[in-house]
């Protein structure tokens, strides 16, 4: 990966870091207060959902990067990377769902789709490197 980062990429990294910091804090709070039974009612719902909203912040940061990146070649690499990630996550989740429905595999929590997506960013970067050479894209560095 090149050391050069566009202003849009720097903003992306900052946004991802903020989202991940929020994720760590809210996940810790949700586990300690909700799962361990110290909180109930609407507030518990809100707190339990907050880590997911922080992960959505990473998706938003990636979308903003596509919008804000002014270098069209880098933008194309990023779009390819995101398409590979989305395709990978959706494909694995779909096949797993049918396997689970058939009773062949165990249940996996739905938020693992997000983890598949982040793993897919790595695959997308690899795909870019293999087909375009050089820089594999820019999303996922800070995730």
């Amino acid at each position: 990966m090149t050391s050069f980062k566009s202003p849009a990429q720097r903003r992306y990294v900052f946004r991802v870091m903020v989202a991940m910091a929020g994720y760590m804090v809210t996940l810790t709070a949700a586990i300690r207060l909700v799962r361990d039974g110290h909180m109930a009612g609407p507030l518990a719902w809100v707190l339990a959902a907050l880590p997911g909203l922080c992960v959505i912040g990473v998706f938003w940061a990636a979308a903003r990067l596509v919008i804000e990146e002014t270098d069209e070649y880098r933008r194309m690499l990023l779009v390819r990377q995101l398409l590979v990630a989305a395709g990978f996550a959706l494909s694995v989740a779909t096949v797993w769902g049918f396997l689970e429905n058939a009773g062949l595999v165990g249940h996996v929590d739905a938020f693992y789709v997000a983890i598949l997506f982040f793993a897919g960013l790595g695959l997308g970067s690899l795909y870019n490197r293999l087909t375009m050479g050089g820089d594999g894209g820019c999303a996922g560095e800070g995730a």
């Binding site: 050069f4 566009s6 270098d71 070649y73 375009m132």
Partner: protein
């Protein structure tokens, strides 16, 4: 699409980085265009044309 970017750049003694700075794109973009891995948009093609002082047809050639 073929192009004469590398030759035109060499004639002027510019590095890929020099050209990238003139075009306000990354060096990777210049490299991808030069090697035919990426065809620039029309606005970028016009910027390239302006930087070299040539028409787009004098820089980019028809064909794969």
């Amino acid at each position: 699409m073929n192009n004469r970017l590398r030759v035109l750049r060499a004639e002027r003694g510019w590095s890929q980085q020099d050209l990238a700075e003139r075009l306000e794109v990354s060096r990777q973009s210049v490299n991808a265009i030069e090697t035919g891995k990426y065809d620039p948009s029309l606005p970028l093609a016009f910027r390239i044309s302006d930087v070299f002082g040539l028409t787009i047809e004098a820089i980019f050639l028809r064909g794969e």
